[in-house]
C-alpha cells in the first residue's frame, strides 16, 4: 500500500518522465549541441579538431549573399504560400459550409493532398511542369498563352514551388476552418439576419470574426511548416537552378550534409529556428488579440 501510494503521489512526474527523458536526449541536447557548434569553425571534411571562434561563424555566414538570398527567399516563399492558402482555404471552407449531396466525398477528397507523400507530389509536379512534355505548358498553349519554363528558370521557380505548396496544403486550412464553422452557435447569425443584414454582411461582420481564432491557429500551423519546407523543394529542384530556390532549410541541409561545414550550418539552423519562433510568436499574439 505504501509503495503504490508513492507511485500515485508522484504520478504527475512518473507518467511523463519517459517522454521527457526521450525528448531531452533526442531533441534538447542535440539542439544545444547545434547551438554550441555555431560558435565553432568545425569542418568535418578538414579532419582538423574544431576551435571556439565566438561569433566569427555568425559574422561570416550573415555577410554571405547566398545566405541573405536564402533568408529573404524563405520569407517570400512562406509569405505568399501562407497568404494564398489562408484566403483560398477560408473561401473554400465558406463555400462548403452547408449541407449538400456529396459533402463527405468532398471532405475525403480534401484529405488526399494532405496525406500524399510530399516527395512523390514533387516528382508528379516535375512531370507537370516539364517545359517540353508537361501538362502545364499544354494548358497555357491551349488558352493561347506563351509557354513557361516553370522550375527550370530562376525567375519562375519560386512561384512554381509556391503553387505546389498551395495545392498540397490549402485543404488543411479548409478542413480546420470547416471544423471551426461547424462548432459556432447559430444565434448571432440568426440575430443578424433578423436585423436585416445581407448574407455578405453576416459573413464579413459575424461569421468570420467568430472563426478568426481558428483561422489564425490554422495559419500558425501552416506558417511553421512553410518556413521549414524541405521535401518538395529538395525533390523538385534541389535548390536550383543555380541557387535560385535555396531556402534556409535547404541551405542548412547542404552546408551540413554536402559541404560538412558544421559550424556554419549551425549558424543557419539557429537563424532558421529564431525565424520560426519569432513568426509563430507574432501570430500567437495576433490570435490572442482576436479572441478578446
Amino acid at each position: 500500500m505504501a509503495q503504490s501510494s508513492f507511485t500515485e503521489r508522484n504520478l504527475r512526474i512518473l507518467f511523463p518522465l519517459p517522454a521527457i527523458i526521450f525528448v531531452a536526449l533526442l531533441m534538447i541536447f542535440p539542439v544545444l549541441y547545434t547551438l554550441f557548434l555555431s560558435f565553432t569553425n568545425w569542418n568535418l571534411t578538414s579532419g582538423a579538431p574544431f576551435s571556439f571562434v565566438g561569433f566569427k561563424s555568425y559574422a561570416r555566414v550573415l555577410a554571405e549573399p547566398r545566405f541573405l538570398h536564402a533568408l529573404s527567399r524563405t520569407f517570400a516563399f512562406t509569405f505568399f504560400a501562407v497568404v494564398i492558402e489562408g484566403f483560398l482555404g477560408v473561401a473554400i471552407a465558406i463555400i462548403l459550409n452547408r449541407a449538400f449531396v456529396g459533402k463527405s466525398v468532398a471532405k475525403l477528397m480534401l484529405l488526399l493532398p494532405l496525406v500524399a507523400t510530399p516527395v512523390a507530389v514533387g516528382i508528379v509536379f516535375n512531370l507537370f511542369y516539364d517545359p517540353t512534355i508537361g501538362l502545364a505548358n499544354f494548358m497555357l498553349q491551349s488558352v493561347g498563352l506563351p509557354q513557361g519554363l516553370w522550375i527550370s528558370s530562376s525567375a519562375t521557380v519560386i512561384p512554381s514551388l509556391i503553387l505546389v505548396d498551395v495545392w498540397q496544403w490549402t485543404p488543411m486550412i479548409t478542413l480546420i476552418v470547416l471544423a471551426g464553422l461547424a462548432g459556432l452557435s447559430e444565434e448571432p447569425v440568426e440575430a443578424a439576419r433578423v436585423d436585416g443584414a445581407s448574407e455578405w454582411q453576416i459573413l464579413r461582420y459575424v461569421t468570420i470574426p467568430m472563426v478568426m481564432p481558428v483561422i489564425l491557429t490554422a495559419v500558425i500551423l501552416r506558417l511553421i511548416d512553410a518556413l521549414k519546407t524541405f521535401d518538395i523543394i529538395f525533390a523538385m529542384t534541389g535548390g536550383g537552378p543555380g541557387y535560385a530556390s535555396e531556402t534556409l532549410n535547404i541551405l542548412g541541409f547542404k552546408y551540413s550534409f554536402e559541404y560538412f561545414r558544421m559550424g556554419q550550418s549551425s549558424v543557419i539552423l539557429v537563424v532558421l529556428f529564431l525565424v520560426v519562433f519569432a513568426c509563430s510568436l507574432g501570430i500567437m499574439k495576433l490570435r490572442a488579440a482576436s479572441e478578446t
Binding site: 500515485e8 471532405k107 494532405l114 516527395v119 501538362l135 478542413l175 471544423a179
Partner: protein
C-alpha cells in the same frame, strides 16, 4: 425558385472546379503510370492511350521495392508503437494535472527545424556505428510521432470526465490502475486518430531517412527519390513508384477518414 436553382447549379460548378484542381495531379500520376515512355513524352500530351503494366512490373521487379516497403512499414509501426507507450501516460498527466509547460516542451519538436537535431544525430550515430540501423531510424521517427500522440491524446483525455476514474479511486483503486483499466479502454477513437496520423507522417518522412539510412534501412520516399536521380527520363517508372508509395497512405485515410479529419483539426479548433 428559379434564383435558387441557378445558385445551386453555380454551387455545384464551383465544387466540381475545386475537385478538378485537387484531383488532377493524382489522375495524371495514375494515367502516366500506365503509359509507355513514348506516350508520356509525346506532344501534345496524350489523354487517350492504350494502358500498359510494364512500369509496375519494372518497379516491383527490378527495384528492391518490397524491401523498402517493408522498411517503411517496420520503422513506421515500431516508432508509432513506442511513441504510444511514452506518449499516452504523458498525455494523461498533461490533461489531468494541466501541465501546460510540459505540453509546450514536447510540442517544441513540432517547432524545431528537423536538421537542427538531425546534424548532431548524424555525428553521434556515426560514432556509435548506428548509421543505416533500424534503431537510428526508429528513434528519429519517434520524434515525429511522439508530439502527434501527445497533442491528440492530451486533448482527447480532457474530453473524458474525471468522474470516470475518480469513482474507481473512491472504491480503492489507484490512479494508475484506473488509467490502465478505465481510461485507456475508453480511448480507442483517440488512439486510432493518433496512430493513423503518426504512421502517415512517418511513412511520408523524407529528411530523416535521407540522412540516416543507406541501403539496408532505406525507406520508400528515398527509394522514389533515388529512382528519379538515377533514371531521370523514365517517367512511367517514376509515376508507378509514386502511385505505389501514396497508395497505402490514401487507403489508410479512406478507412479512417473520420479520425484523420479529427486529428488534423482537433488542436486548432479546441484552441
Amino acid at each position: 425558385m428559379k434564383k435558387k436553382l441557378v445558385s445551386t447549379i453555380f454551387f455545384y460548378l464551383l465544387v466540381t472546379g475545386i475537385a478538378l484542381v485537387v484531383l488532377f495531379p493524382f489522375v495524371w500520376m495514375l494515367a502516366s503510370s500506365f503509359k509507355t515512355q513514348v506516350d508520356i513524352i509525346s506532344w501534345p500530351p496524350k489523354f487517350i492511350f492504350s494502358p500498359t503494366l510494364q512500369n509496375y512490373q519494372k518497379v516491383f521487379g527490378e527495384q528492391d521495392f518490397l524491401k523498402y516497403f517493408f522498411n517503411s512499414t517496420i520503422i513506421g509501426a515500431v516508432s508509432v508503437g513506442l511513441s504510444l507507450v511514452l506518449g499516452l501516460p504523458a498525455a494523461y498527466s498533461i490533461s489531468r494535472y494541466a501541465q501546460k509547460k510540459l505540453a509546450v516542451f514536447i510540442l517544441l519538436a513540432r517547432l524545431m527545424p528537423g536538421i537542427s537535431f538531425l546534424m548532431p544525430w548524424y555525428i553521434v550515430f556515426s560514432r556509435l556505428n548506428l548509421m543505416d540501423s533500424y534503431v537510428a531510424l526508429i528513434l528519429s521517427h519517434m520524434l515525429i510521432s511522439l508530439p502527434i500522440v501527445v497533442w491528440i491524446m492530451s486533448t482527447y483525455f480532457s474530453t473524458i470526465p474525471r468522474e470516470m476514474e475518480e469513482s474507481a479511486m473512491v472504491d480503492g483503486a489507484t490512479r494508475q490502475y484506473a488509467f490502465f483499466t478505465i481510461i485507456l479502454p475508453l480511448s480507442g477513437p483517440g488512439i486510432i486518430t493518433a496512430t493513423t496520423l503518426s504512421f502517415i507522417f512517418s511513412w511520408n518522412n523524407f529528411m530523416f531517412s535521407q540522412v540516416l539510412s543507406m541501403e539496408k534501412t532505406k525507406t520508400l520516399p528515398i527509394a522514389v527519390y533515388n529512382f528519379v536521380s538515377y533514371a531521370e527520363v523514365d517517367w512511367g517508372g517514376v509515376m508507378a513508384a509514386a502511385v505505389a508509395i501514396m497508395a497505402p497512405a490514401i487507403v489508410l485515410t479512406m478507412i479512417f477518414q473520420k479520425y484523420v479529419v479529427k486529428g488534423l483539426t482537433m488542436g486548432a479548433v479546441k484552441g
